[in-house]
């Protein structure tokens, strides 16, 4: 039996990779992918905690997160496509009009 700590370490590494991707990559699609990695890192820790406690709560939450992630991906990709059609660019630094 693999101890809980290992799962959490993997989860933390995955989350850090995702976060780094969000901040460092210059492509909106890659950023979306990084967000998915972060979500899945969280899923992993949920499942690990659930297993450790001997309940199914963590797995149930994970299903919810996956559903939301799917929806989010659909909306996010649609927005990205719309942005691309509008600006011919996928660089997030090009979209700075969200200010006064």
């Amino acid at each position: 039996m693999i101890p809980l700590g290992n799962y959490l370490v993997v989860s933390a590494i995955l989350f850090a990779i995702g976060t780094a991707g969000v901040f460092l990559r210059r492509n909106l699609i890659t950023i979306l992918l990084s967000i998915e990695i972060m979500l899945n890192a969280v899923n992993l820790s949920f499942v690990a905690f659930g297993r450790w406690q001997g309940t199914v709560d963590g797995q149930i939450i994970t299903f919810f997160v996956m559903t939301v992630a799917a929806a989010e991906a659909a909306v996010g990709l649609a927005i990205v496509i719309a942005l691309f059609r509008h600006r011919e660019s996928l660089n997030p630094d090009a979209f700075t009009s969200l200010k006064w």
Binding site: F23, P92, T96, K99
Partner: protein
């Protein structure tokens, strides 16, 4: 029954104000006159009921509802008729009706909506005045008191497109406010002192007290009330609004000067006779102010050239007489003069209105003259009114004025009596100057242009507009039309009143019963709880009065002779100067140019008030309150708040770069910091 008296005019007001603009003139004017007549009829019935009661029981009271009930303090909306109020309601509704009827003809040149507006104000005026005299406590009286102030503003400024009229209305309103402020203070003081605002309860609480020694609370309270009265009743120092009130239509002047408004102050003092007689200091002030006003207004009246202005100053002067009477404790005589004055002053004002109407808006008596033949009805009624006001024996003014002068003399105020006699001479002189210049001599067309052309009445200008059709017929160009029937009716009735009204108060010295003094007496004494004791008091009072009259009969007769002679001398003087030797007047004006100019400019009182009160207030308001407090402190606080927000936001604005990634970064750092804090705490 009692509430009907004020409610009829209120009904007329409601109808004319709400749908008057769609009603034809005959309906709106007729309705307004009809409600006044109905109110008069109810008043007559009520007074008849009152007269059928025993003299000491004469009181009809009706509590409509409890207006304010707060702990111990209960204030009822109560209407009460006693002998004093009875005289007042008859004057208000009776003379008021005649003025309404007169107005239907006088205002006929106005458009339908204006006509209805005029009559709605007129009815409202009567309503408030009736509330004022019927109210049984200070608060109800004050409702009427303020109401007549409002209506005078509306009516004086009726032709509000004209700046002078709008200004005059404003002046009346503001000057009245000053008096009303003092009036409220006086009322509050009485409430603090007696815990009630009901006139009778105050009177019976005061009655057993000793007279106020030396400027005690009663003197202060009554003095404050009197200041209120000077505002409403146009006495020094607050009389300045009344002459300017000429800007309103002439029947309005008649209403203000005769039946309503200016009588309020006199009535209020009469209503609180017991209270005032316990404050000798105030009484002395009232008497001196009254006499001074009478004399001052009389001298001004002597040189004015506007027909209505002369009459206005004569009103101020006659009101001075009434206050003189009140001040010497002759309340009955004061109210008697109020009542007779209402007849002849209404008659004179309506007569002057008829003259102005006939001359298409001419008000300057220097441009009149010789109207006797053209306007016979107006002439004769005006003459009767003038004889009455001058105090010619046998007419109304004689009895009441004589009563006042006699009481003044009998109470030992010889100086005030002298002033009164002098004023009486002035009254006779300026009234007959007016009569002779207006109606006698040659018609003068091209006298100097009016000093205040803006003061001419628009109603008459409308008439001017209709004139070209007349001028098509050359023979009609100088045609004078005498008063139309509605106006003539009012004039004739009032002239009759000016002759006959005095006969209710024939003094004992002439073998009369002085019925009005006996009738009014219960109103001026406190009603005690037991009617028996009260009956004795009244009886004793009457006996005392009778004996006194017996002893002073000779004195009264000789005083009467003096005042009659003075009246005739005044008329003779006027006849000599303005009928026979017109140049004397001019020569006198030329000999004493200083005095003449002083009088013509009304002692420069308006200018003095302007310099000492209006300008300082204006400067303080404009430079201090507006440019200083408002601009710098109040606006400064508001603008300062805005610029602080503006400055701090321009700093904060830099954080909002629009870069989503930067937002996400700050979010992430924030989460890390918060979590870190809790983990490593």
């Amino acid at each position: 029954m009692l509430p009907l008296i004020p409610l009829f005019p209120l009904l007329g007001f409601a109808i004319n104000a709400s749908m008057g603009r769609r009603l034809p003139k005959a309906v709106s004017g007729g309705l307004a006159s009809l409600v006044m007549l109905a109110s008069f009829a109810v008043s007559v019935v009520v007074v008849w009921q009152l007269a059928n009661l025993a003299p000491t029981q004469r009181l009809i009271e009706q509590t409509l509802y409890t207006w304010i009930a707060s702990g111990d303090f209960v204030l009822d909306l109560t209407l009460r008729v006693d002998p004093l109020a009875a005289v007042m309601i008859l004057v208000i509704t009776g003379i008021g009706s005649l003025i309404h009827i007169y107005s239907t003809a006088y205002m006929h040149e106005e458009s339908d909506p204006e006509y209805a507006r005029y009559f709605s104000y007129l009815n409202l005026f009567a309503f408030f005045m009736l509330v004022l005299v019927l109210g049984a406590n200070f608060v109800v009286l004050f409702v009427g008191w303020e109401g007549v102030g409002l209506c005078s503003y509306l009516l004086i400024g009726f032709w509000f497109e004209k700046k002078s009229a709008a200004d005059a209305g404003k002046k009346a309103f503001v000057v009245n406010r000053i008096g009303d402020y003092a009036f409220i203070l006086g009322t509050l003081l009485l409430f603090v002192r007696f815990g009630t605002l009901d006139f009778q309860r105050i009177a019976s609480a005061v009655a057993p007290l000793a007279t106020d020694p030396d400027f005690g609370p009663l003197s202060v309270a009554t003095l404050l009330l009197f200041i209120g009265a000077t505002g409403k009743s146009a006495q020094i120092p607050l009389y300045v609004w009344l002459p300017d009130a000429m800007e309103g239509p002439t029947p309005v002047s008649a209403l203000i000067h005769a039946a309503t408004m200016v009588t309020a102050g006199v009535y209020m003092i009469g209503r609180n006779a017991v209270l005032f007689s316990h404050a000798p200091e105030t009484m002395a002030v009232v008497a001196v102010i009254g006499a001074a006003t009478a004399l001052m207004a009389g001298t001004i009246g002597l040189v004015q050239n506007d027909i209505k202005r002369v009459l206005a100053y004569s009103t101020v002067s006659q009101l001075g007489y009434m206050f003189l009477a009140m001040g010497v404790g002759a309340f009955g005589a004061g109210i008697f003069h109020l009542y007779t004055h209402a007849f002849f002053k209404a008659c004179l004002f309506l007569g002057s209105g008829a003259v102005i109407h006939a001359l298409h808006g001419e008000q300057d008596i220097r441009n009149m003259g010789g109207l006797k033949t053209g306007l016979p009805i107006t002439y004769w009624t005006f003459l009767i009114g003038s004889l009455a006001i001058a105090g010619v024996p046998g007419l109304a003014g004689f009895f009441s004025k004589d009563e006042i002068l006699f009481e003044t003399f009998a109470h030992g105020h010889t100086i005030l009596w002298t002033i009164g006699i002098l004023t009486s001479l002035l009254t006779a002189t300026y009234m007959f100057r007016l009569v002779f210049l207006t109606f006698h001599g040659e018609r003068r067309h091209q006298a100097p242009a009016p000093e205040h052309p803006e003061e001419q009445e628009p109603a008459a200008h409308h008439a001017d507009a209709a004139q070209p059709s007349h001028q098509l017929h050359p023979s009609h160009s100088s045609h004078l039309h005498d008063a139309p029937s509605a106006m003539a009716l009012a004039l004739v009735v009032l002239a009759l009143g000016s002759v006959l009204a005095g006969y209710v108060g024939i003094p004992h010295a002439l073998g009369g019963g002085n019925a009005i003094a006996t009738w009014l007496a219960p109103s001026f004494s406190a009603r005690s709880v037991t009617t028996l004791a009260e009956g004795q008091v009244a009886e004793a009072g009457q006996n005392g009065r009778g004996e006194a009259a017996e002893g002073e009969r000779g004195l009264e007769l000789s005083l009467m002779a003096v005042s009659s002679i003075v009246a005739f001398v005044g008329i003779g003087l006027a006849a000599f100067i303005w009928l026979k030797r017109r140049e004397i007047a001019d020569r006198m004006a030329a000999t004493f140019p200083g005095v003449y100019r002083l009088l013509l400019n009304k002692y420069y009182v308006d200018e003095i008030y302007d310099a000492t009160v209006v300008q300082p207030i204006r400067i303080v308001s404009q430079e201090g309150l507006w440019r200083g407090v408002d601009v710098h402190i109040i606006d400064g606080a508001v603008n300062g708040t805005a610029s602080i927000v503006d400055g701090s936001s321009s700093l904060l604005r830099r954080l909002q770069s629009g870069s989503v990634r930067a937002y996400a970064g700050s979010l992430f750092i924030g989460v890390v910091l918060i979590l870190g804090y809790y983990l490593w705490r």
